[in-house]
């Protein structure tokens, strides 16, 4: 690390700021929302602030595109802009924009004051973006905390509902515990290699005998990150938190922080060449897939069902981490993107059907949806088919790349477990489809027409899901660049 020796090196250069441009944009817009919130009439603030937040997310997208012209390190090698970070910045900003669109009408329906909500979403996105470009463990920790604390609060946003508060507290307590693990792992890693910079750690680990401490450090960091991505056996919080949190927030926190955490994991696993990764990930992936799918089989609450499904999907994704870098990295990146699209879409539908106070979230409430609102039912069906992994949806290629990467690394056992799990999983997604189309409604569930914001969110997720399923080439090729860059 080139330490700040003289004054010229202490002052950040303009180029340094370009490296964190999207983060700056998000922070500025987040603060604008916070400042304007108390100044505005409550009825008007709802919509105006939503629009400002949306502009913020889109500005971050543009900033990412601008930033991608200037790859390189910044801030004394603590952040790095490369195709990898650009990919995840883009993903996080896009998720944020879609979530804001999906929440646009939700806030009014649930009678939630919108200002803080939008600000927290933007701050959370800031943390997540930074996670993917930070290449220094302490900065990663800081970014992780920024993103986590925002999501803790967001989870409790349905203040008049006890279950939402429970969800928030549970998430906060367990989450802090997990971040403590991560920090401890960072400390041990520093002890083992003498640095917190990922590339230096990587060089140290590659150069000679790997100290025992490094194994322990990796394991601890893995526990912390495993919690964040809801991988088994650190998954028990997921169903309760997802059940209680507002649906758009669940859509957000099951995709964006997960994507960012997977980005961190990818850096640690592949760029730092974490020792002992294969068996560690093998076990966690197999457990996540199996426990997630088995848990989902018996759920009657749609949000809990998707919570278990997200555990299973974390498992599928982790399979890629056990593979070789040149296939594993692009496979994992592709999976995060397509999972984000389909899961966001599914939760957007759920948040709309839930209605005021999220009353309609059981399978029974979905009976006859195919007749009451064919469009909404068809949209949800496509997302569910993508989650199953049926061709021409993004979910298919996602699974395909992951499993074929694992096959090329000769992880036949893991692939068999994965394939069997996908077969089991098709059952519970199918159950929801069956309920929507083939059963007559027993309870009268009012379904209001689809509002504009939600419609836009659905259209975007649907378009991306199908696009990734029909023409996966471009995204995958872009992701594959990372593997090439890292191999240099």
């Amino acid at each position: 690390m080139s330490g700040p020796n003289d004054i010229a090196q202490v002052i950040p250069q303009a180029a340094d700021y370009v490296r964190i441009l999207p983060e700056i944009v998000l922070a500025v817009f987040g603060m604008i929302v916070m400042v304007l919130d108390p100044l505005m009439d409550e009825r008007r603030s709802q919509q105006t602030l939503g629009v400002i937040a949306l502009v913020g997310a889109l500005a971050a997208l543009v900033a990412t595109l601008f930033q991608s012209q200037y790859p390189g390190q910044g801030f004394w090698d603590m952040v790095r802009v490369d195709s990898f970070s650009v990919f995840f910045h883009f993903l996080v900003a896009a998720i944020t924009a879609v979530v804001i669109l999906a929440s646009y009408e939700y806030m009014a329906v649930q009678r939630i004051r919108a200002g803080e909500y939008y600000a927290l979403v933007l701050f959370g996105a800031l943390g997540m973006s930074l996670m993917s470009s930070a290449v220094e463990l302490v900065l990663i920790f800081v970014a992780l905390e920024i993103s986590s604390i925002s999501t803790y609060i967001l989870a409790g946003f349905r203040r008049n509902s006890a279950i939402s508060s429970e969800s928030s507290v549970k998430y906060f307590l367990l989450g802090s515990f997990a971040t403590a693990f991560f920090l401890y792992g960072v400390a041990l890693m520093f002890g083992a290699t003498g640095s917190t910079s990922i590339s230096i750690i990587g060089d140290a680990l590659r150069s000679g005998r790997i100290p025992m401490l490094a194994y322990v450090g990796v394991a601890f960091m893995f526990v912390g990150l495993g919690f964040k991505v809801a991988a088994a056996p650190f998954h028990v919080w997921t169903p309760d938190v997802y059940e209680g949190a507002p649906s758009p927030v669940v859509g957000f926190m099951s995709t964006a922080p997960k994507a960012a955490t997977f980005a961190v994991l990818l850096r640690i696993v592949f760029e730092a060449d974490a020792p002992g990764r294969v068996w560690l990930i093998w076990v966690v992936a197999a457990l996540s897939m199996t426990l997630g799918n088995i848990g989902a089989l018996v759920q009657d609450n749609v949000k809990r069902l998707l919570a278990y499904s997200s555990i299973a999907h974390a498992g599928y994704l982790l399979v890629a981490f056990a593979a070789l870098p040149n296939n594993g990295i692009p496979a994992a990146m592709f999976y995060t993107a397509s999972y984000a699209a389909m899961n966001l879409g599914a939760f957007a539908v759920i948040s709309h059907i839930g209605g005021e106070g999220e009353r309609y979230v059981t399978l029974e409430d979905y009976e006859g949806l195919g007749r009451r609102n064919p469009l909404l039912a068809a949209t949800l069906t496509i997302f569910l088919l993508s989650l199953i992994g049926i061709p021409i949806t993004g979910g298919f290629f996602a699974k395909f790349y992951v499993f074929s990467a694992a096959l090329q690394a000769n992880l036949v056992g893991l692939v068999i477990i994965g394939v069997l799990n996908s077969a089991v999983a098709s059952y519970y997604y199918l159950r929801l489809i069956v309920v929507m189309y083939m059963r007559e409604a027993r309870v009268e569930v009012p379904v209001s027409p689809i509002p504009v914001g939600l419609g836009a969110a659905l259209a975007i997720s649907l378009a991306v899901t199908i696009y990734l399923g029909v023409l996966p080439g471009r995204v995958l090729d872009y992701a594959a660049q990372t593997a090439v860059e890292w191999a240099r």
Binding site: P391, S404, S426, P472
Partner: protein, 504 residues
């Protein structure tokens, strides 16, 4: 042979129904217009598909009307389509049956009409795609794509236990095709391509590493997926449920085309990619096929439900196809292909006939009928004609195929031929006995006296099937001269295999 029309023909035939379905989405919910539009689209597709046999180079063995464009670079997926003599006729069978399905569903589907015809057309695209795809990935994609519309057709428009039947159908075939997917992925990992022809040559020239160890498993992976679809004996339990619960059009396409996906898959992929494994596993597969023939027939005999009877008869007839395929003789494979086509026409027609009766009486129970020949003479005539075709009366379509299959099986091993031949007798028993109970004697239930005979629309749906059954029985060469070279091509490696074994 390479005009622009020829090159785009398969794409057109495959995707016109899908385009029609998308247009239907935009239609207002006026049921009459929707039905008419679906009919026009399916007829248009049929007419277009006739281009294939008309301009087909009959003497040639390889694939024709090929298109091969890069679709996705990584994985290396090509939009590769093409037909040989076998798949071409299956495509035409599909496009032939779909307009009939539209006609037969005209009145019986009166709720959610728009969705019904959308699903039907999407299903048609997927079915055609299965037969024309020459890229394993594309094939798998269409294969899976048939699943969803079919399951929805059964689950939404079916009868009493429709949900159970739909879920059972979906899970059975989904789980089985996972094994095929695993085998496809393995092949891709080792060869770097999904292209059927390239993989075939790679295997043939021994350029696939570790192939000898994995070949048996790959063979079984494909076989299980196809065996469930056919269905071969122990995997057949989904079929009666699916058929009994499905709406008429669903049954017609299920029996007429969907089951053939399995036998077509065996012919194309099991035999095409793994000749040695096919040879060494043939004995137990043929035993299963024989069990299917006899067991299906015996169970059909005792069915009180007309539709279930036809369903079990399908298991029996498809047993012939499997028997013919794994006899590895020219006659056997020609016959197997012919049975596929003939069974599609005649069983499709049988299901339509059963559906017509159901529309009038809302039951399939044979005991509810009797003496129907008196109130419904035209219907009875059509029914008898189709039953005779299905039984295998000479000069009608069933005979040719079964005869060829049996002669092939005899050549392979006489006992197979003998047991298989009993199947022909059994089928005469259960079908004619059913016919007797439904149509002859006195009218036992007074309701049946006032049943109206066939309407013009119903006749329009049945005439083409009846004519096809007759023409296929009288002039089989029209079909066989295209099938023959394709089958020879499939069998070529087996001849080499045999000579290799002799040299040893």
């Amino acid at each position: 042979m390479s005009t622009a029309l020829d090159n785009s023909m398969l794409t057109l035939v495959t995707f016109i129904p899908l385009a029609g379905a998308i247009l239907l989405l935009l239609f207002p919910r006026r049921d009459r217009d929707i039905r008419l539009f679906a009919l026009v689209i399916s007829l248009l597709d049929f007419v277009l598909s006739l281009h294939l046999p008309v301009h087909f180079q009959r003497g040639q063995a390889g694939f024709q009307y090929e298109v091969n464009n890069l679709w996705v670079t990584n994985p290396n997926i090509h939009y590769h389509m093409g037909v040989d003599g076998v798949s071409m006729w299956l495509v035409v069978l599909t496009t032939f049956l779909t307009p009939l399905c539209v006609l037969i569903s005209w009145k019986s589907i009166h709720e959610r009409v728009k969705e019904f015809f959308i699903l039907l057309l999407v299903l048609q695209t997927a079915l055609i795609g299965v037969f024309v795809a020459l890229d394993l990935f594309l094939f798998y994609f269409f294969w899976e794509a048939t699943l969803i519309p079919m399951a929805l057709l059964i689950g939404i428009y079916g009868h009493g236990r429709r949900i159970y039947a739909a879920v059972k159908f979906f899970l059975y075939t989904m789980v089985a095709s996972m094994f095929m997917l695993a085998a496809i992925l393995w092949l891709y990992a080792k060869t770097g391509t999904f292209d059927f022809v390239s993989i075939q040559t790679a295997i043939h020239n021994g350029r696939v590493e570790n192939f000898s160890g994995a070949a048996l498993w790959l063979f079984l992976g494909f076989f299980v997926a196809f065996a469930v679809k056919v269905p071969v004996f122990p995997f057949h339990t989904w079929l009666p449920d699916a058929h009994v619960e499905a709406p008429t059009a669903g049954s017609v396409l299920l029996a007429g085309v969907l089951l053939k996906m399995g036998t077509y898959g065996m012919l194309r992929f099991n035999l095409g990619l793994f000749p040695e494994q096919s040879r060494s596993n043939a004995s137990w597969i043929m035993v299963l096929a024989l069990i299917g023939i006899v067991y299906g027939a015996l169970v059909a005999m005792v069915q009180p439900n007309m539709k279930k009877l036809i369903a079990y008869s399908s298991i029996s007839h498809l047993g012939f196809v499997v028997l013919g395929i794994f006899s590895f003789t020219q006659a056997g494979l020609d016959g197997a292909t012919y049975v596929m086509l003939a069974h599609g026409v005649s069983t499709g027609a049988l299901f339509m006939l059963a559906g017509i009766l159901y529309e009038r009486r809302h039951t399939y129970e044979i005991a509810e009928f009797g003496g129907l020949a008196t109130p419904m003479p035209v219907y009875a005539t059509f029914f008898l004609f189709i039953v005779l075709a299905s039984v295998g009366l000479p000069l009608l379509n069933g005979f040719i195929g079964e005869f060829l299959v049996l002669s092939g099986a005899f050549r392979d091993r006489a006992v197979y031929g003998i047991i298989g031949a009993t199947g022909v007798i059994w089928s005469a028993c259960y079908l004619l006995w059913m016919y007797q109970r439904v149509f002859y004697g006195k009218v036992t239930h007074p309701v049946n006296l006032s049943l109206p005979d066939l309407s013009g629309r119903e006749r329009a749906a049945l005439w083409p099937a009846a004519v096809a059954a007759l023409v296929m029985g009288v002039a089989p060469l029209l079909w066989l001269n295209a099938i023959d070279p394709a089958v020879q091509n499939v069998l070529a490696p087996f001849a080499q295999l045999a000579s290799k074994m002799v040299k040893r």
